[in-house]
Subunit: 334 residues, 2 copies
């Protein structure tokens, strides 16, 4: 049997069992955006890590070194945001070919440093090593949050409004243009830029984590159709979502000339938007969304609600239940 | 200009400047075995990270999956040991080809879990991703230590005895046998085993960290000739070391048939022994070494002393000063 036969999530559930007995009370281990390491008297520590591999996560000739450095940190800060933690430092391991140009390396670190400065999150350590072929980049971020403010995936409640903090699908559109080698029109270039320059929702995450009406939260990295299932299965809840309520940008509509099926397919199944996905007590949703818009310039976009037990995700389009929606990224699947 | 023109340490000093202004008071950032993140009222957090790349750090056909899993965690726990921290959790990112056999993956995680259990250090998170060619493995470990017990590289004092916790050179001997494709005699196999199965000195590190007479400490990963220079340059001190005092195993002597030049070259320039290297106040050295031997079965091996300022490392052989010693691993060097 090979890895592709069990897939990424099969692999994770296979090995995570080996460590369950070791995890002390109060810790949060494998399965959420961040692990939580309790501190007896202080704010808890939250840790998350992500690896980017050349030709799997990025194509060196398509993304600038500055963008790649920025994105390497951004996708990790997004995990801290999803738990509501304040960043306090990062660790970078990078394998590089010996003949890489120093200018490329300088630009990479300039991109990384620009985001470090924005969130006052210093690079505290790491590892540099050579590689004989693909570049591999691993970032680990450490953040802090009071225990009562940490948001997890397993706390969705019946009746909660499911919502997101911004547009979905732009990043997947940009990726598709790159993978299919489509013509780089000005609109196409803009979508590629969205794919290469994700903005972690750090302030939004900290704000939402401070609100008791927010029950479950995570970030959207694999695509909402795949990601929401983690919240549902860990909370033991089902959800009804409405395709036509997915927030999509004018840019995406314009590029795909109003082809709604294509657009909603990208918004629902495509990954790497790095917006936050949360479930909110329905009684306080409108009030929270108004406050969110005042602070951040856009509302929380309601896309459905938590509806009973069982872990099922049902999609509707203009009131009609859809049979199934595919999409969501899974490494190792054939 | 290419990366190989500035080398690994040139690269690190080049980018670490970009982050200096961001590091808050009380933090320890780039340049020691671990970063230190202070906790106001609790034990501080220590974090370290290391990346292993296929065909650079290991050859998949030569190392068993169990050994590779064990080693991936071991080299990181060694960094916690070097700072005197108690392990509290690890994070593993691994990129794997889709066609890797599940048995290999299971064995890898069994090796990783065996060391996790030994030190009660659960895997708390990570990332799994595919790769199109080489496997990359990144481990981040988190530990805790009271601020007054953390040992750093910059605290060596004049007159300190420089010592190590165990034999040097076995791992480098094993690596040489692999790289040169030498015959795998029983002795050769034993040296290869030492290379593939490093034992992090976690209990030793915690014990030594509790002793005030230990001034500076680190682990030996690149080779003592290279590693001690970090202690010297950060402490602003010079040292005199004696080749013939380097502790070497009977195994190494037997394999190289008493060729002392070869043996000391491996012990001094070869890396990956993962013993601890420390400097101890000379007044308390003998007493500490006796206690160490009672606890761990071998003494602290004195190999020289800290002698004045300036950051110079001088090697002697039977009382004669040697002109220079090469060795110590540097990624990216041509």
């Amino acid at each position: 049997m090979q890895l592709k036969d069990i897939g990424e999530f099969g692999l994770i559930s296979r090995f995570s069992k080996k460590f369950l007995d070791l995890i002390p009370n109060g810790f949060v281990g494998i399965g959420d955006d961040c692990a939580v390491i309790p501190s007896q008297k202080d704010k808890n520590f939250l840790v998350s890590t992500d690896m980017l591999v050349e030709n799997v996560h990025f194509i060196k000739s398509e993304i600038s070194a500055f963008e790649l450095g920025h994105k390497s940190l951004a996708v990790n800060l997004s995990d801290l945001a999803a738990s509501g933690a304040e960043p306090c430092g990062s660790f970078l391991s990078i394998s590089l070919p010996q003949n890489v140009d120093i200018q490329w390396v300088d630009d990479f670190f300039d991109g990384y440093a620009s985001l470090s400065k924005k969130y006052n999150c210093p690079l505290l350590g790491g590892d540099t090593t050579k590689t004989l072929n693909a570049i591999a980049i691993n970032v680990t971020v450490v953040g802090r949050a009071s225990v009562e403010k940490i948001k997890l995936r397993n706390k969705a409640k019946d009746g909660d409004i499911v919502c997101v903090t911004g547009y979905l699908g732009d990043s997947a559109g940009g990726l598709e243009i790159l993978l299919d080698g489509l013509e780089k029109t000005p609109l196409a270039k803009e979508l590629i830029k969205r794919h290469h320059n994700p903005q972690p929702r750090v302030e939004q995450g900290i704000f939402l984590a401070s609100r008791r009406e927010v029950n479950a939260m995570m970030d959207i990295s694999d695509g909402i159709n795949s990601d929401l299932k983690h919240i549902l299965s860990l909370s033991g809840k089902s959800a009804d979502l409405h395709l036509e309520k997915l927030p999509v940008s004018e840019l995406l509509k314009e590029y795909y000339k109003g082809d709604l099926q294509k657009i909603y397919n990208l918004a629902c199944g495509g990954g790497e938007d790095y917006e936050l996905l949360l479930t909110v007590d329905f009684r306080y949703f409108t009030d929270l969304s108004v406050q969110f818009e005042k602070k951040f310039g856009n509302p929380l976009y309601a896309i459905g609600k938590i509806n009973g037990d069982g872990g099922q995700l049902r999609w509707f389009e203009n009131g009609f239940c859809l049979n199934s929606i595919s999409g969501g990224y899974n490494h190792f699947s054939a």
